[in-house]
Structure formats: C-alpha cells, structure tokens
Symmetry: C2
Subunit: 229 residues, 2 copies
C-alpha cells in the first residue's frame, strides 16, 4: 500500500508536533511526504502533477493544524484546484474512487471541550463533515481520523502512543483484528531496529505488544474459568 501524506502548515519549522511526527516516518518507503508550502512557495499549484501523484497512491492523508475548525488556506486552494471538475467530480469516471482518505489534525484545545456543553460546542466528527462529504463525493473510504490534542503538554509516553497511532494511520492496512495489529507492529519494529530510530520508541512499542498479550492472557483465563464449571 502506497500512502500520500499531504502536509500543510503555514509555519512548519516552528511546529514541534509537525517535526515530531514527520521525523518518525522520513525513511519509510511506502509513504510520500508532500509538504505543500515547501513545494509551492509561490502558491502556484501544478494541477496535472498533483493529479498524477494522487493516482499513484492508495491512501491519501491530509495533515494540518486544526485552525478555525478547518484546513489551512493552501490546502483549501489545493482542494479547489486539484479536485476540480473532471477529476474530482462532474464526470462518470471518478479517478479517486475506492481509495482511502484520512485526516491527521493537530488541535490546540483539549479533547473534552469538543462536545455539547464544552467550549467548542461540537465534536470533531461534526466539525469535519466537510471532509467526510468530500470523501463521499470522490467515492473514497473515509478513515477514522487521528486527532492529536494539545501535543505540547503531553508526557513522552503519551506522545509515543500517538506516534504508534500515526504509524498505523499511514501504513497499516485496514484490517482491524488484534492479531493483525500485533503482526503489523512487530514488522514495523523489526524495520525500526535496522534504522537509527529512537530506542525509546522501540521500547515503548515492545511494551505495547506485551500489554496487549497480557490482556489477552487475562481474558483467556477468565473464559477458561467460566467454562470449567
């Protein structure tokens, strides 16, 4: 599976969260990192080139800071120009039909505020309806998004937990069984061992698998007890 990660941020160098996540995938073969502001400093988007890039990938991810509950200006421009009539919609042929679409959003406000009665009033699912509608229009499968809340305040372990979810979002096939996730994580780990990735990340990932296994063992014991009677 080939993933196209379309990143947009008006000031990416100063964004700790963007740097953290992008660093962790920079050597992945199956991910194309496509940073719009870097690619188009004059904001003149090469539409044909972008459409070709989309055609070559199976999963398309938008990664951006969630300012005013929406994408960045340049990412919106990219949507309006690249996904125009004849490519995005308006013809019988839908070039993106059957591909997967997902969002990775860096969010400055705490998760608990995104609900009725919270300061932000609506849930992330409600606020991202324009993107769900876009995926629907293009015939794409909308993935569960990755919302990263208040990255700046997180403990190291919480950051790593997000990192594993990020890896999964970008690289893991959609099968959702525990066995599959475990297998995928082990593969990912083995690859990571052969590169210079942070040993902390490695340690954390191993712990994650171990925790999962322990939970499975506990569950198995409970079930065994039940059927002994």
């Amino acid at each position: 599976m080939q993933t196209l990660l379309i990143v947009s941020h008006p000031d990416i160098i100063d964004s700790g969260s963007q740097q953290y996540f992008l660093n962790a995938i920079k050597n992945e073969e199956n991910i194309t990192i496509h940073h719009l502001e870097e690619q188009y400093p004059d904001e003149k988007i090469d539409i044909a080139k972008e459409q070709q890039l989309l055609s070559k990938h199976d999963r398309i991810i938008f990664q951006f800071p969630f300012y005013w509950y929406s994408a960045t200006p340049l990412l919106k421009k990219w949507q309006d120009e690249v996904l125009g009539e004849g490519f995005g919609y308006g013809t019988r042929k839908k070039p993106l039909d059957g591909k997967e679409f997902g969002l990775v959003m860096m969010i400055g406000v705490a998760e608990r505020e995104y609900q009725a009665g919270g300061e932000e009033l609506f849930t992330i699912s409600e606020l991202t309806k324009p993107f769900q509608a876009m995926a629907n229009k293009l015939g794409m499968t909308y993935l569960r998004p990755l919302s990263i809340f208040q990255f700046f305040y997180l403990e190291e372990e919480q950051k790593m937990d997000y990192l594993i979810q990020y890896w999964q979002m970008l690289m893991m096939d959609k099968e959702k069984s525990l066995a599959n996730r475990e297998k995928w994580l082990i593969d990912q780990l083995e690859k990571t061992q052969n590169t210079s990735a942070a040993p902390n990340t490695l340690r954390f990932a191993i712990d994650q698998i171990q925790t999962n296994r322990d939970k499975m063992d506990e569950l198995k014991m409970v079930l065994d007890d039940m059927f002994l009677d």
Copy 2:
C-alpha cells in the same frame, strides 16, 4: 445597524451570481462591501486594519462560493490571521462579543441533494458547523444563513426572491414579525424608488407585500368565521 460584507471569490468578474447581488447593494449606506481578492491581490492581509474594520460594524457577513463545503482559501487565511489569539480568542476581552455573524453562500448543487440519502450526504447546517463553532468561540450571534442554490438556472422571479432575502440578511434588524418585515420592505422600496434600481425589482417587491397582505386578510376571514358560531 452597520454591516460589513466580507466577499471572497477567486474569480468574481466571471461570477454572474456575485455580480447580481453586489450590484443590488452598491449604493447602500449602511453596508461596507469588502472584497478580499480586490483589497489584497498579493494576499498580504493588513491585520490591524481588518480588526479595526470589524470593530466598526455590528453585523459581519461572509459571502463566498461553497466549494468543497467550505470558504475560499483567502477567506480562510483572513480567519486564521485576523481572528488570531488576542483578538478572536485567548483573552478575557472578546472584541466581537455580541455582534452578529452570517453566511451568504452560492452553491452549485441542488438543495435536495443536501440531506441524508442525497448526493451530498449532509445538510447545509451540518456542513457549516465550523462557522457556527467560530461564532460561538467569538461570542457572536449566528444568523440563519442565506444559501443560494444553482443561481444560474433560476427564473427571474426566483432570483428576485433571493434578492429580497439578501437585502434582509444584510440590512434588516433581527426582529422577525410580519409587521416588521413589511415595514422594512416598504422603507427599502421607498429608498429604491429614489435611485436608479431596476423597476422589475420594485414591482416584485410590491407584489410580495401584496401577497403577504392577502394572506393576512384570508387568515383574518377564517378566524372571523370561526368565532361567529
């Protein structure tokens, strides 16, 4: 009441709908038409000037084509930069608190598609949640939006019906009683008679009032009949 109409369209000269509506209000004293692409051809927004402009108005309207279920790139840039920390949020003082906020959207797809089971899947109310959340965050009152569907295909009379709604959106105080709407429309008409506005528009507006009056008269007769027994 002073209204600030913030218009954004990547190609406004070629937009028949934009020209139609903007022409109809160009001589109104209480509306400031603020076209972002014209004001900032290099897209460098004068933040202090924009914030000052906002402070001087009571009702703020965004007018834009509803591409990919959201605002234009330049309007999003305006939101991100002008409504930044310290002005839009992040301080105890909310400079826009108590003002009114509304959307005027030109929409290319038929209204019936904006619902569950329709091609667009979601309603306009669902898709505009990011703007509702913005108004909430800024302490502004969110007005019922004006969604103009498939303007290009409309009959002249339907266009005029939208035009009256547009006038109301930009100029009419929020009181919603029929008497108020009638009074407002008559005032508006008298003003229009003194300018060079289209006689068709005038005729149509008079018909609207007459229709309203006829309906009231009918209702009154029904009520009278009921209480005669």
